[in-house]
Subunit: 520 residues, 2 copies
C-alpha cells in the first residue's frame, strides 16, 4: 500500500537498530518494535496515530517549543492508559513527520528547525498598469521538462508520486465500473456532468463550509478546464483581470490564450493576496475578474485568513466582479483542518470555485469541477461548445471512489506525509542554499518558494534552471509565475516526492549552482 | 453482439416464415435458413457477406437498375460455386440493407425507391457580409433535449445507439487496462497525447491516404476539442471565418464563443461547399480560416469530390488561410470506401484535421484527435492551458482497441447498417411528408436533411420541433445550423437508430404536423 512505502518500506516490523526509529533512552524495550503497522491493517493503529496527531497539534500551536523535551514515554503511557509500544509508535510517526527528534540517552525533543532562522520571501512591490502576459522564449520547453520530468529529479512537478495516491483502489473501481451492465461510453454524459459525481461533490462541500447542491457543480477536465471555462464565461478578450503575484503559471497561460490583460496584485507568502492593493487596482482599472487561490496558493503555499476571504468576496460582489477561485490544494492542509474556500462566503453567486482530484487521487484521470454560481448557464454553454461532455468512465470511477469512504482517510494520510516532506525539504534548502536565501513556510500543498538574495540578477532563476537541467534536476523558475516576468531571483521547489538521498543531493547541488551564479 | 441485434434479434437461425426474410420464389429450400449467423461467429459468413457487398456495389454503380431482376439464386450458386444457402444469405443481407426486395413467386428485384422521386434539398443563395452568430433564445434547451433525448424518439441525436457500438469489447479492454501494472492515472499524460494512441492513428491514416506520423497528431476530447483548439490556434477574436451553410451547430457555437464572425458559404447537399462562392468570399473579406467537413457533412451528408478537396486546400494554402476539417463522419461511407480527408491533399501543413471515435466506437469515452499541420505548437500550448492533458485511462483503452484489429470490421458492419437505415428512413419520410418536401441523399453518416416546401415560413422548423417535443419526438430544427438563422423550413433527422415501429410512427406524426403547419 502507498502509505507503507512512505513510512517505512513494506516492512511490517521495524528493528530497534533502524536509525530512523527513535527508541533510544527508553529502557524497557524488547528487541523489536512491532506496532508500526499500517493503520488500515491494524485497528489499534488508529490509537497511536490519534496520539501522534494530538501531540503534533500541541507542537504546531506552540504548546511545546523547538528544543523542548517531549513528555516521557512512560508518563504518556501511564496518563493515557495505553501501552508503551503505542506511545513509541506515536513518536516514530512524529519523528518521521520531522516534528520530533531523539537524543541518545536523553529522550524525545521537539525538533529545532533550521528553517526557523531563514526569513520568508518578500512581498513584491505593487504592480503598474495592466499588461499582456509575456511568455519568455523557450518557456514552453522548460515547462514541459518540468511537468514531464520522467528521469529528472522531480523538483519541478505539480503532482505527488503514484505511491502516495490511491491509484490501485481507484483503478480497481474503474475496472469494475467497466464491467458493470453495459458499461460506460454509450452516448454523451449530461452537460453538467455525471449526477453521481456531482452528488459526491455536494456531500463533500458540507465539510468545506460551502454546502452546495448537486446542481451547483459542473464537472470539468481537472480544475484547469474549470478555470478556463470560468475565464471565458466572465471576460471578453481585451478585458483586465487581477491575479496573484506570483501566480500559477497555467493561469497566466489561460489569460494569454484568451487575449486578456493582467494586473498583478502583491501576494503575501503567508496571508495571500493583498486586498488593499486589490482595491487600489479595482479603482484604477476596469477589472472583470479576480483570479485567486486562497488555500495553499501555488507557488507560495499562502493561506488567506477567512476574514480576508469574506472581505474579498464582498468587495468583488459589490462591484459585480467575478471571483475565480482555484481551490485545488484546499484539501492538503498540514494541520489537518480543511480551510473554507472563498465560495463559502459567496452569497451573490459571484464566485466560480474550481477543484479537482488531481492533487489527492489521480492526476491522469482529469476529474475536476467548477461551482460556478450565477455563471452556470454560461459555463455549460462553453463546455458544450468546447467538448460536448466530459468522459464517462473516469467520472463514474471517481464518483464511486468518493462514495466509498476511503477518501477522507487517504487525504488525512497524504496531509501528514506532505507536511513532513515540506518541513524536511525546507530544512535541507536552508542548509544548502547561499546565505540570505529566503524560504516560504507553506501551510499546505507541496511547494516551497525560494528567494535568492540578489534581486538585481533578472535571469538568475532561469540560469539556475538551465544548469540544473543539465545535471538532470527539474525546478520551476520564478518568471513563469508572473505576467511581467518578475521573480527573476526566485524558484519553486516541489516537495511532493519523499526526500530520498538522490533528492537531498540534488538540493545540495542546486545550492552550489546558486552560490556559483551569485558570485559570478 | 450488437450486429446480431440489428440484423435479426439474437436468433441464430431464421425461420423461413419471417416476413423480413426473402426466400419466396426459391423452390429448393428446406424449412429453415441456417446461414444467417453473425460472420464473426462463423468463418463462412465472410463469403456471403462478400457476395452481398459485391452485388451492392453493382447496384450502387447502376449496373443493376431499380426494378430490375437480380440474378437467380441457382445461377449465382452455380457461377460462384457456392451453396444456395450462401447466396440466399447474401440476398437476406441485401434486403435488410434496403437494396433488394422479394416478389412472391418471382424472385429478387432491385428495390424501386420512393425516395428517388423526391428532389434533393436546394442549395442556399450566397450569403451577404460576415456576421456574428445569432443563437435563438431557447436554442440551448432545445439542443439539450435533442442530444440527451432519453425517453424521446431519438430523431435528434448525433450518435448511434449502444447496440451498434463495440462497447462491450472496449469496456473489457478498459477493465484490463485498469488492472495492468500500476494502472493508469499517475501523473499527467504527454501534452501531445498518449503515444500508443497516436501510433494507432498514424497507422490508420495510411488508409485515409494521408500517411501521417505519430507526431502529426495531438489527442483531444472528441473531435470537438480539436475543432475548438484549431479555431483558437488560427484566429483572434473579431476575425472572419468561412463555414458551410448549413453547418454543424456545434461549430457555430464555437465561433460565437470565440467572438468570431462567420461568412456562410452555400453548400451543395451532394458535393459540399461551393468553392466558387468561397473564392468570392475570400476576395470580399479577410477570411482567416475555412471550417469544412468534406466527408458526409453534418447535416447534409454531402461528400466533396477529391478534386474539390484538392482545389480547396490549394486555394487556402496560396492565401495562408487555415483549413479546419471536421472528418468525424469520414469512416461511415455507405459504399464501404473510406474517402480521403482534405488533409490528404495538404502539402503546406495548412489543414488542421479533426476526428474521433465518438461516431464509431464510444461517444462517452471522448477520444478524439487533431492532425494540426504547422499549427502543432500552438495547439499544444492551448491544450495545456485549457486542460493540461487528456485523461489517460480512456486513451489507453482506445489505443489497445484500435491495435486489436476489430475496428475495421466494426466500421464495415456499422456502415452497412447505417446505409440501410438511411435508405429506409428516407423512404418513410418521402411517404409521410407533405408533397414538395425535399430529402437529402447522404452517402455516409446518419443524418437526413429535410426541406419543407414553404420557404416563406421562417419559424416552420422551430414550430415543428416544439410540437414534436410535445409528442415525445426529438428532431433538430434548421436554424441552429446557420449563423443567420437560415433554413427556417428545414429539419435534420437522425437515422442512427434502427427503424422501429415506434420511430416509423413518429415519422408519420412529423409528416402530419408538418402538413398542419403548412396549411395553417
Amino acid at each position: 500500500m502507498h502509505t507503507e512505502r512512505v513510512r517505512g518500506g513494506t516492512d511490517r516490523s521495524v528493528p530497534v537498530g533502524d536509525s530512523s526509529i527513535c527508541v533510544g533512552g527508553v529502557p524497557d524495550q524488547t528487541g523489536t518494535l512491532r506496532a508500526v503497522e499500517t493503520p488500515h491493517d491494524d485497528p489499534n493503529g488508529f490509537l497511536y496515530e490519534r496520539i501522534a496527531d494530538e501531540l503534533a497539534g500541541v507542537i504546531q500551536r506552540g504548546g511545546l517549543r523547538p528544543g523542548e523535551r517531549m513528555p516521557s514515554v512512560r508518563r504518556l503511557s501511564r496518563e493515557r492508559d495505553v501501552s508503551v509500544a503505542t506511545v513509541l509508535s506515536a513518536y516514530v510517526i512524529l519523528e518521521r513527520r520531522g516534528l520530533v527528534e531523539t537524543r541518545p540517552k536523553s529522550g524525545h525533543f521537539v525538533r529545532r528547525s533550521r528553517t526557523a532562522e531563514v526569513p520568508v520571501p518578500s512581498v513584491p512591490r505593487r504592480a503598474a498598469a495592466p499588461s499582456r502576459v509575456t511568455i519568455a522564449a523557450g518557456a514552453d520547453e522548460l515547462i514541459r521538462a518540468m511537468i514531464h520530468d520522467r528521469g529528472l529529479v522531480p523538483l519541478g512537478t505539480a503532482y505527488v508520486p503514484a505511491e502516495l495516491l490511491p491509484l490501485r483502489k481507484l483503478n480497481a473501481i474503474l475496472a469494475s465500473v467497466a464491467r458493470e451492465g453495459g458499461g460506460p461510453g454509450a452516448g454523451y454524459d449530461e452537460l453538467r456532468g455525471l449526477l453521481q459525481l456531482r452528488r459526491q461533490l455536494a456531500r463533500r462541500s458540507v465539510a468545506w463550509g460551502a454546502a452546495l447542491g448537486e446542481d451547483d457543480f459542473v464537472t470539468t477536465l481537472g480544475a484547469t478546464e474549470g478555470l478556463s471555462l470560468s475565464l471565458a464565461a466572465t471576460t471578453r478578450p481585451g478585458d483586465v483581470v487581477a491575479v496573484e503575484s506570483p501566480a500559477y503559471f497555467g493561469l497566466l497561460r489561460l489569460i494569454d490564450a484568451r487575449g486578456l490583460r493582467a494586473v498583478e496584485i502583491p501576494t503575501d507568502p503567508e496571508t495571500g493576496m493583498d486586498l488593499d492593493a486589490l482595491e487600489d487596482a479595482i479603482r484604477a482599472a476596469p477589472i472583470r475578474a479576480v483570479l485567486v487561490s486562497p488555500n495553499f496558493q501555488n507557488p507560495l503555499g499562502a493561506r488567506m485568513p477567512d476574514a480576508s476571504k469574506e472581505r474579498l468576496v464582498k468587495t468583488c460582489a459589490r462591484r459585480e466582479i467575478a471571483v475565480i477561485e482555484d481551490d485545488v490544494y484546499g484539501d492538503l492542509a498540514f494541520d489537518d483542518t480543511r480551510p473554507r474556500p472563498a465560495k463559502a462566503f459567496d452569497t451573490q453567486g459571484i464566485v466560480l470555485s474550481c477543484g479537482s482530484l488531481s492533487k489527492t487521487v489521480a492526476p491522469g484521470y482529469r476529474v475536476g469541477w467548477v461551482a460556478p454560481g450565477r455563471f452556470r448557464d454560461a459555463i455549460e454553454r462553453l463546455k458544450f461548445a468546447h467538448a460536448v461532455a466530459s468522459p464517462s468512465p473516469t467520472q463514474m470511477a471517481a464518483a464511486e471512489y468518493l462514495a466509498g469512504g476511503d477518501h477522507e482517510r487517504q487525504i488525512r494520510r497524504l496531509r501528514h506525509v506532505l507536511a513532513a516532506q515540506s518541513r524536511a525539504y525546507a530544512e535541507k534548502i536552508a542548509a544548502a542554499f547561499p546565505a540570505g536565501t529566503r524560504v516560504s513556510r507553506p501551510q499546505g500543498g507541496y511547494f516551497l518558494w525560494v528567494e535568492l538574495p540578489d534581486t538585481t540578477k533578472k535571469t538568475l532563476a532561469v540560469e539556475l534552471q538551465l544548469r540544473a537541467l543539465d545535471r538532470g534536476i527539474a525546478i520551476a523558475p520564478g518568471p513563469i509565475f508572473s505576467a511581467r516576468q518578475r521573480f527573476g531571483n526566485c524558484i519553486r521547489i516541489s516537495t511532493g516526492h519523499p526526500l530520498t538521498p538522490r533528492i537531498e543531493a540534488a538540493i545540495v547541488e542546486l545550492g552550489r549552482i546558486a552560490e556559483l551564479l551569485l558570485s559570478g
